[in-house]
């Protein structure tokens, strides 16, 4: 088991290096010179040249990459051109926010999606199945920004129960933090819940029609036990994979939702950075999220082993 974890962690290193090279190379393909964009209306050619020198933009891309990766190894992710702040500070500011939002969204998604999937599989063909299907389709097909604005108008403008936007850290004020994040978390969780429900339903249907379930029933086991202990456990494998993937996507930033609720997470950071061609920030955030993504996949693999002993080495 430990060996497996160690091996997977070793695999992480080349993957991150390849990802970092790709992101470095790809963003150089973006048209537009960072120094010119940074100058905006204040286009003084001499100053633009100074900035290009200062950030080594005048040097060949491989040289720039070597400088950057050297910094990364020593824990220095570079400096934001636009904000003159270390990228590591920005990442440290945003990561907890994104983590909190993603975790809340995931909890909401699991609490809605998994039970709904089980119910619709068990009650296949009944009214329950249709109702759950309609709700999940609604969840998948509702655009996040639209649902977000709708929620703001209902809960903030009309009812005045929740703040329309902004973010408060749970360490500062847990109650206020919950109030500011519940709407965006619901919006994000809502769309994932639909996907989770569909997958849980499919996996459950397959499990319920398998031989061991028939055997379990033949043994005279209580139906609840058949469903929860026998069928669900086996049906969870694809759901865990999907959950980890969705969680990873959430970590790379829920761009639109963060924009609407003004949640200062990775999504807003990276979008602003791309539009401003603030390369160091884009690289830093992508590096951190891709590493986290790979770690999550590892956790998902470990999760399979936990629910399915047959996979144990």
């Amino acid at each position: 088991m430990l060996l497996l974890i160690a091996r997977r962690l070793m695999q992480l290193i080349p993957t991150v290096i390849i990802v970092s090279m790709m992101i470095f190379g790809l963003q150089q393909l973006l048209p537009g010179d960072p120094a010119t964009i940074m100058a905006g209306e204040e286009r003084d050619p001499e100053v633009i040249e100074q900035i290009r020198k200062q950030y080594r933009l005048d040097q060949p891309i491989p040289v720039q990459y070597v400088y950057w990766i050297k910094g990364v190894v020593t824990g220095d992710l570079g400096e934001s051109m636009r904000l003159k702040e270390p990228v590591s500070t920005l990442v440290a500011q945003k990561l907890p926010v994104t983590l909190q939002l993603a975790t809340m969204a995931m909890i909401i998604a699991i609490f809605i999606g998994v039970p709904a999937g089980i119910v619709s599989a068990v009650k296949k063909g009944t009214v329950w199945d249709y109702v759950v299907n309609v709700i999940s389709l609604w969840g998948i097909s509702t655009p996040n920004f639209w649902l977000g604005i709708l929620l703001i108008f209902l809960f903030s403008v009309h009812l005045g129960w929740l703040p329309a936007s902004g973010y408060v850290s749970p360490f500062e004020d847990p109650w206020q933090s919950l109030k500011t994040t519940i709407m965006p978390a619901f919006v994000l969780g809502n769309s994932i819940a639909g996907v989770l429900m569909r997958h849980t339903r499919a996996a459950m249907l397959q499990a319920l029609s398998s031989d061991y379930v028939r055997t379990a029933r033949a043994k005279g086991l209580n139906e609840n036990r058949v469903i929860l202990a026998h069928a669900m456990r086996n049906a969870l494998t694809p759901v865990i994979t999907l959950g980890a993937l969705e969680f990873g996507t959430l970590l790379s930033g829920a761009v639109l939702t963060e924009q609407i609720f003004t949640i200062p997470g990775f999504g807003k950071l990276i979008v602003d950075a791309v539009f401003n061609r603030d390369y160091a920030v884009v690289q830093g955030v992508v590096l951190v999220t891709s590493a986290t993504y790979i770690l999550l996949n590892l956790l998902a693999d470990l999760g399979y082993i936990l629910v399915n002993p047959r996979l144990r080495p």
Binding site: S156, P163, D173, Q176, F275
Partner: protein, 506 residues
């Protein structure tokens, strides 16, 4: 389980306490349309950043509602007869937020920092300054390379913002992380893309007029959400509300509206001299450009896209500006004239035009209206929607025939035209070049007397109306909305939110 419940309960009980302590202090929240860039007056370049600077960094001079220059950290200024030295008297006894004195030496330090610091965006604004002398502790003398009448206007913006020499020397180019200036509010904290908090500066020179203890700036990009926050009371004031929301704001109880015509403009830059794109009929024949302009109905355009709230315009300053040339009025739409001009030019219709438009919903709509209007005269405008950063690159390379471009505007007219129309100037995307216009623009910035400047700009306006390197379309409205508990708000034409004099009712 029990323990966590107790913590939860404690948090619940504590929440109103926090709210209570916050209420003892008067505070307001201002919604910004974007997250500002670095808060260092020397290195900053965004419009939204200037809104925050308005509370933390005072300038040597300021403007009033009529665009007149009024004193702020300076008391007066005097230009020598040859126009080459400007002597500025400073307000005595002013202190920076760190308690350092704002004297002539500090002013010299700030101006020199603006002029020489690596990456300074103030360099070009102060490029005519040769040196700064300290005459006595409250007087400085600015020596110019050549007479430069926009200088004082430059000092009403970031070039006139003074920073504490001690703090600036200690922080270097990280000064923007904790700016120390001499404004009514001092910087407290900033969380990127979340908030900027400032609090009342006890030793401010005009502290009798500062009534609110704390201001939090919150960037909210989506204008619908920004307005929703204002309506729900989460925000007290928002900047850059949409023209299409004006009716709604007027109709909402508890909200007030403040507007002013902007200093800048929205226009279409035409490539007249860069690369192959300029060789088409539009770039090479002024008559075709005149026809293009004649086909546009500016009044209808602002009616359709902006509910008639914006002002049609045809020059680099708006028609209310004292530098507007009345001899070149906003032309009416004239399709017959446009068709005749095209016939005179002998071009084959339809004349195709590659029209590059930065990607945002409003400019896209404007482009579509222009496309429809000019089609009637014989143009086939092909709209190419392009991401903004990419569009700048394309414009620089000359890969466009027409380019929709907005300018946020400067206090002095020189800042709205010189960089666009002077031969080889940095923003001259049109690659326009005309000796008479160059001479007129030179005169406009070196002469000090208003009649002489007016005469020079008149010559430039008349020539530019013939050559049409830029088709000016309209001037946006600065639209600020605030809750009615805020009193004393006055809108200046630069669109910035001045916080001195603001009060909370009751």
């Amino acid at each position: 389980m029990k323990k966590s419940f107790r913590y939860g309960l404690a948090a619940l009980l504590a929440a109103p306490l926090f709210a209570g302590s916050a209420m003892a202090q008067s505070s307001i929240r201002i919604g910004l349309a974007e997250d500002p860039d670095v808060l260092d007056p020397t290195l900053a370049r965004t419009y939204v950043g200037r809104i925050v600077f308005a509370s933390i960094c005072d300038k040597l001079f300021d403007i009033d509602e009529k665009l007149n220059v009024v004193p702020q950290l300076a008391l007066s200024h005097e230009t020598s007869a040859d126009g080459k030295t400007v002597t500025i008297k400073l307000r005595p006894g002013v202190k920076f937020h760190d308690g350092e004195p704002l004297d002539a030496a500090a002013v010299k330090f700030s101006l020199d920092r603006h002029r020489t610091m690596n990456g300074s965006f103030r360099r070009s604004e102060l490029s005519q300054v040769d040196s700064v002398d300290v005459v006595d502790p409250t007087t400085i003398r600015i020596n110019l390379k050549s007479p430069f009448s926009p200088l004082i206007a430059q000092l009403t913006d970031r070039a006139g913002m003074m920073v504490s020499p001690k703090a600036a020397q200690e922080a270097g180019d990280r000064f923007g992380q904790k700016p120390v200036c001499a404004g009514p509010y001092k910087f407290v904290e900033r969380v990127q893309q979340d908030r900027i908090v400032v609090e009342k500066f006890a030793d401010y020179w005009d502290k009798a007029n500062v009534h609110i203890d704390r201001i939090t700036y919150v960037p909210i990009t989506d204008s619908t959400v920004r307005l929703a926050n204002l309506k729900s009371g989460q925000l007290d004031l928002i900047e850059r509300a949409l023209a299409t929301d004006i009716k709604d704001i007027r109709a909402t109880r508890g909200l007030k509206l403040a507007t002013a015509s902007e200093l800048g403009y929205q226009g279409i830059t035409i490539n007249t001299g860069k690369g192959d794109a300029a060789k088409g009929p539009l770039g090479s024949d002024a008559r075709v450009r005149q026809a293009f302009e004649a086909a546009i109905d500016r009044e209808a355009l602002v009616q359709v896209v902006f509910n008639g709230e914006f002002k049609p315009g045809n020059q680099w300053v708006n028609p209310e500006n004292s530098f507007y040339q009345k001899s070149v009025p906003v032309p009416k739409r004239d399709i017959a004239k446009a068709k005749k001009l095209l016939a005179d030019a002998g071009v084959k219709t339809p004349v195709t035009v590659d029209f590059m438009v930065p990607n945002n919903p409003e400019t896209r709509q404007v482009a579509e209206v222009v496309q429809a209007m000019t089609a009637e005269a014989g143009f086939d405008v092909k709209i190419r929607v392009t991401e903004f950063a990419t569009s700048l690159k394309e414009a620089e390379a000359g890969n466009f025939q027409a380019y929709m471009l907005a300018w946020s505007g400067r206090t002095d007219p020189d800042g709205n035209i010189q960089t666009f129309a002077y031969t080889g100037a940095p923003n001259n995307y049109s690659a326009y070049s005309n000796k008479d216009v160059d001479a007129a623009l030179d005169e406009g910035r070196t002469k000090n007397a208003m009649p002489e400047r007016m005469a020079a700009y008149k010559r430039a306006a008349e020539q530019l109306a013939k050559d049409v390197p830029i088709v000016y379309l309209y001037h946006r409205l600065v639209i600020i909305a605030h809750r009615d508990r805020i009193e004393g708000y006055r809108q200046m034409p630069d669109g910035l939110v001045r916080v001195v004099g603001l009060k909370i009712k009751g």
